[in-house]
């Protein structure tokens, strides 16, 4: 029972495909999954916008949207309609073609990223042998679209925003990649499916998720930082820092294109947190052996949503960085630490099983982090912060 | 399936186009772009020959391509850095005006 429930989507698609003539079957099979992805994630996107706006509202001591529908549930629908019906403005001096292409490229690229994410047992569009590489290759091409958007709309805010975004994304792509390489080293495969399966084992009912190893944990922290920067979310949201440059690279966008950008942003968020889940949090594997009866896809999506919530929480909590701080942080702290992580992972691998590797690896990491933190924080003063809540 | 010749012809064409770009454009950056195109054409040849070689499992050609991609990245970085610094000095990226080394 549990198994059928677990595999329900797979079985469903198989069944549908089996109805068709053989010639069409592979094509339709793929199409089905694509459609599923294209259907599911925008839905999630709608859900998330509400979540974010209400959550942020609570954090900032506001109510958040609560007019449309019960508790403002229908807010995204309203937004969607609004953005669709709005006039689509293209600045006269803008470079029309590029201005038009940019959002498409972004959305397409982001959607392609989902192709390799295993969202449940046997639930991935393709199990590519170089899945991780594919993911990053696709992710890299989003930068270009952002640049196109910024440059084409002939507006210094947009241009600045784009430049910032690109610089930031390039700088943080390195640690993002590095922090995952450790996992590739340990798993011995770039295929996300294999990586998840490697984590889907249990000792004493506890899972072998990589986050539960010293290097894995450190890598996860680094990954989160880099991912937040990669998706241009606060505290790394300089490219669209409202207070500095109106809305960054999509200042000049309106109507549906704007919606596309918005969608692209959130999809990027999903895909990156999906990747994080897959790499560190054991993908679709259950957190406890006893919970295995719950369908795998439920686990995957709940984990993704969890990490999204954390992202929202961070956005509600942390102040925005300055550009130089951003760069220094990337090149002087995150990247060295990810490099260190590689070494630690190697040590872990070569020390073989046993308690020794736990002690050694944790010792190295702790030592370096403490010292590094000291060096970074030298001469910086942190005073207490006082909040005042309205009753 | 496509014969090897097809790939080779495409590679040759891309190479020629790149060369033309490198030879005809004024802007140093575009010359660099042309050179990148030529490099890519070479890579395509490498990969194609690897694919059609009797022993593709030896990976030779593809490895070569991968390495040349890496080298090309380095080349682009340095080249563009040079262009920028030249621009700082001469306030131009026009190759016709960069003839200080004239004999």
């Amino acid at each position: 029972m549990a198994n059928t429930l677990d595999q329900i989507f797979v079985l469903l698609s198989r069944w549908i495909v089996s109805l068709l003539p053989v010639a069409l079957q592979p094509l339709v099979g793929i199409l089905l999954s694509v459609v599923a992805i294209i259907a599911v994630f925008p839905g999630l996107f709608a859900l998330t916008t509400v979540l974010e706006r209400k959550g942020l509202g609570r954090m900032q001591n506001r109510i958040g949207p609560n007019r449309t529908g019960p508790f403002g549930i229908l807010q995204p629908v309203a937004d969607g309609i609004k953005s669709l019906t709005k006039e689509d403005i293209i600045p006269t001096s803008a470079d029309a073609v590029v201005h038009f292409i940019a959002p498409l490229v972004l959305v397409v690229a982001v959607f392609m990223g989902f192709a390799v994410l295993p969202m449940g047992r046997n639930m991935q569009l393709v199990d590519m042998d170089a899945g991780l590489l594919f993911f990053f290759a696709i992710g890299a091409s989003t930068e270009l679209s952002i640049f196109m958007a910024g440059w084409s709309s002939r507006n210094k805010y947009s241009l600045l925003g784009a430049m910032r975004a690109v610089a930031q994304m390039i700088s943080y792509e390195v640690p993002l990649l590095m922090s995952t390489v450790a996992i590739v080293m340990i798993t011995g495969s770039l295929s996300l499916v294999k990586i998840v399966e490697a984590q889907n084992q249990y000792t004493w009912g506890l899972p072998h998720w990589y986050i539960f190893t010293p290097w894995g944990f450190a890598g996860f922290v680094m990954f989160c930082i880099a991912a937040t920067a990669e998706t241009n979310r606060s505290p790394f949201d300089l490219p669209e820092g409202e207070s500095e440059l109106v809305a960054g690279y999509f200042t000049e966008y309106s109507g549906f294109k704007f919606a596309l950008f918005f969608l692209g942003e959130y999809l990027g968020m999903f895909s990156i947190s999906g990747l994080g889940t897959t790499l560190f949090l054991g993908g679709w594997s259950a957190p406890l052996q006893v919970l295995n009866f719950v369908p795998s896809w439920i686990w995957f999506f709940s984990k993704v949503m969890l990490s999204i919530t954390v992202l929202i929480w961070i956005r509600g909590t942390l102040p925005r960085l300055r550009q130089d701080q951003l760069m220094n942080f990337a090149w002087k702290f995150v990247i060295p630490m990810t490099l260190l992580n590689l070494i630690v992972a190697a040590v872990w691998h070569f020390l073989g099983d046993g308690w020794l590797r736990w002690i050694v690896c944790s010792a190295i990491l702790l030592g370096v982090y403490v010292i590094g933190g000291r060096v970074q924080m030298r001469g910086k003063k942190f005073g207490p912060r006082s909040y005042r809540y309205a009753e | 399936m496509t014969p090897l010749a097809g790939y080779l012809l495409v590679a040759a064409l891309v190479f020629a186009v790149g060369l033309a770009g490198a030879l005809t454009r004024r802007n140093a950056i575009l010359v660099l772009i042309g050179i990148e195109l030529m490099l890519n054409a070479a890579n395509l040849n490498l990969v194609a020959f690897w694919r059609y070689s009797p022993h593709p499992e030896l990976l030779t050609g593809m490895m070569f391509a991968v390495f040349s991609i890496a080298v090309a990245a380095a080349e682009a970085a340095v080249g563009l850095g040079l262009v920028i610094s030249i621009y700082r000095h001469a306030r131009t990226t026009d190759l016709d005006e960069m003839n200080r080394m004239k004999g």
Binding site: - | L19, A22, L23, T24, A28, V31, L95, D96, M98, N99, R100, M101, K102, G103
Partner: protein, 693 residues
């Protein structure tokens, strides 16, 4: 347990427990610590000390584990000798292997070195507290500790030699630690060079050994140099002068050991080494490094004693014995007439090392090593006590300007007394008694004559004498220094107390009744029975040595006891027998002798070489210069009149041609690129064309 032991004992080439497999950590960790400390900034004193002490305590713990492992193996009747060997570099079909070893010898030595070392590290935090080069000091110290431990665990003569040299280096660095003192710098140089003399012989021995056996590993499953097959080969190989290769190599290695352990005639550097900070003297020049020579001999004992019949001896052993005995007495004599508290101890160290060597030569590894261990403890104790005294009486080193300190420095006094009694071999209660007694006993039983026996007994007498002299100078009478003495801080006295305890207690494991130590090193089971005392002549022997020691105390007390002579008035002994005194106080003129012979020769030779340079070579050079000068003149003449004309013409031609070529060189990248492409086209065309036909 049993099986694992058995398995590990009959170990094949590279099967060993994790414990032995990682044994290299013991030296490695302090060395790494040294490296890290070297990178520290000077003000980071705490960090440096913490690093050094932490790393060494790690080594200590690890060594204790190793020791326990060996002991348990031995208790199960399965003597442990596990080696980890690996090939360091390979040439042709030969290869130089390195490796490390865990056996009773190295285990005991490991524990001793790490333990004493740790105490001395702790002590130094107090002693060097006011030195601004604190970090450098600890860097050197832990480097030394690492190298020394490397010497201990080495299973390859080459690895041992490497660490040996590092040890020598650190000793040099530490003796010259206060290099701003010219005397210290000189002493450091002297130590380095003198030990070099020994080391040259040593490496000769190593090379020879390698040439003979093709390996430098001590033990590797029957293929090692110390294992029967190799030894048999060495014995059979002649080396001229009626010596076998084994003997010759043994002697060469012994020369190296003599250099490190300050045996006659290479002892001159050791007393001067006292220019270094006192902890250094205690650690390097009393407890560990100088013992390295003894340890080396103990390690290669199978080689030196190759082909020995039970009860008999070999040439090498005889040499070792005689040198040792001679050194023992010689140094003791000199020690009688020294006034620098540390120098006295230094000479006493030399003589004790003599004892160890003699012990090795006479009674084998166990006896020599036992004295080494006990001596390490009480001599370290004495040195640190001396350091504490010096510290307490305002950097005063002259015993005549001290005195009466027994009241002002209680702990130091008591611990020092313990050390002194142990050194002189006060009966029953002190470790020194048992270890020295064992040596005397074996000397007494020695088949090849009684010479060493009498020498050593005389040495014992002298030891008792000069120690009494020193103690009564330093601690009795009334204080003659300036200011008034004060006790040293806790961090310095605490190690003293610990060491004192061991100086007393260690004797337990070496009594004839319970020769635990000896049986441990010789892989025999040990049991307790008083029958040990009933061996013929043993009790008599013990009584004799006791009598001798007390005689020494008596004379010493009679001459110096409780009276406090002024520094300027002549020494009591000098009043008694002036000529002897002058000879002794001038250390038998050994330094002067060397100065008169070796060094003078070098000076002379240098002068000759200098003259040769100036006159002969200088003249030649001048000649050549003149010749070329003439040549040049001729050339000039030739040039100006004939060459230039044609050359100018050529130049014009060239410049014209260059002008033409320069058209092409128009500084446009694309032009060059174009030419390049053209060339490619042409070449490719030619290629294809040729390939067609």
């Amino acid at each position: 347990m049993q099986e694992s032991m058995a398995q590990s004992f009959h170990c094949l080439y590279d099967c060993y427990g994790p414990l032995v497999g990682n044994l290299v950590l013991i030296p490695a960790v302090p060395m790494v610590a040294a490296g890290v400390i070297a990178l520290l900034k000077q003000p980071r004193r705490k960090t440096a000390a913490a690093l050094a002490i932490g790393s060494l305590s790690f080594s200590l713990i690890y060594s204790l584990f190793a020791f326990a492992y060996v002991v348990s193996g031995w208790m199960h009747g399965l003597p442990v000798r596990e080696t980890v060997n690996f090939s360091w570099l390979t040439f042709g079909d030969g290869s130089v292997d390195l490796g490390w070893i865990l056996d009773p010898l190295s285990a005991v030595m490991l524990v001793m070195v790490t333990f004493v070392g740790l105490l001395i590290f702790i002590y130094s935090t107090g002693y060097m507290a006011h030195d601004e080069n604190y970090t450098r000091f600890f860097c050197f110290l832990s480097l030394f500790a690492g190298a020394m431990l490397g010497v201990v665990i080495a299973n390859s003569l080459l690895l041992l030699f490497m660490c040996w040299e590092i040890v020598g280096l650190t000793s040099y660095l530490l003796i010259g630690f206060w290099y701003q003192k010219p005397s210290a710098a000189a002493a450091a140089k002297k130590a380095f060079l003198t030990t070099r003399v020994g080391d040259i012989f040593f490496i000769l021995g190593i090379v020879w050994l390698f040439a003979q056996t093709g390996t430098l590993l001590f033990y590797s499953q029957g293929a090692g140099t110390l294992e029967p097959t190799a030894l048999a080969g060495l014995l059979s190989a002649p080396a001229g002068l009626g010596l076998s290769a084994a003997t010759a190599i043994g002697l060469l290695i012994f020369a190296g050991a003599a250099g490190k352990s300050g045996q006659l005639p290479l002892h001159v550097w050791l007393p001067d080494a006292m220019e270094g900070p006192t902890p250094v003297s205690a650690l390097i020049h009393a407890a560990t490094m100088v013992a390295a020579g003894v340890y080396l001999i103990a390690r290669v004992y199978p080689l030196i004693s190759a082909g020995v019949q039970p009860g008999g001896t070999t040439t090498a052993l005889t040499v070792v014995t005689w040198v040792g005995a001679a050194t023992a007495v010689f140094a003791a004599l000199i020690a009688v007439a020294q006034n620098d508290i540390k120098r006295i101890l230094a000479y006493s160290t030399v003589s004790q090392l003599g004892y160890m060597m003699a012990g090795l030569g006479l009674g084998g590894v166990a006896i020599g090593m036992f004295h080494l261990i006990t001596h390490a403890f009480f001599k370290a104790l004495l040195f640190m006590g001396a350091g504490s005294v010096i510290h307490g009486s305002h950097e005063e080193q002259d015993v005549r300007r001290m005195g009466g300190l027994r009241n002002s420095m209680r702990i130091t006094w008591l611990t020092y007394l313990a050390g002194m009694l142990a050194l002189t071999g006060f009966p029953i209660f002190f470790s020194g008694f048992w270890s020295k007694d064992a040596i005397l006993e074996s000397a007494h039983h020695w088949s090849a004559g009684h010479g060493p026996y009498f020498l050593l007994v005389f040495g014992a007498l002298l030891t008792a004498f000069y120690m009494t002299r020193q103690v009564s100078y330093v601690f009795f009478g009334e204080y003659r220094g300036d200011g008034h003495a004060h006790e040293s801080p806790r961090v310095m006295t605490m190690p003293l107390a610990i060491l004192a305890f061991f100086a007393i207690a260690l004797g337990v494991v070496g009594t004839p009744a319970w020769p635990w130590f000896r049986s441990f090193l010789t892989d025999r089971p040990a049991w307790f029975d008083f029958g040990g005392f009933h061996e013929p002549g043993l009790l008599a022997l013990m009584l004799t040595s006791t009598a001798i020691v007390f005689l020494g105390y008596a004379i010493g007390w009679a001459l110096y006891g409780n009276k406090s002579p002024r520094a300027e008035e002549p020494d009591a002994l000098e009043k008694a027998i002036p000529p002897v005194w002058t000879a002794l106080s001038n250390r038998f003129y050994v330094d002067e002798f060397y100065g008169g012979t070796v060094i003078a020769f070098y000076y002379w030779w240098a002068r000759v070489a200098d003259w040769f340079d100036r006159r002969v070579w200088g003249g030649l050079v001048a000649l050549v210069v003149w010749f070329f000068g003439m040549l040049a003149r001729f050339d000039r003449f030739f040039d100006e009149n004939w060459v230039n004309g044609g050359f100018d013409k050529g130049c014009e031609e060239l410049s014209v041609g260059g002008g033409l070529l320069a058209r092409v060189q128009n500084g446009r990248v694309q032009t060059y690129l174009r030419l390049l492409a053209l060339a490619i086209v042409v070449l490719a065309a030619i290629l294809i064309w040729s390939s067609r036909g």
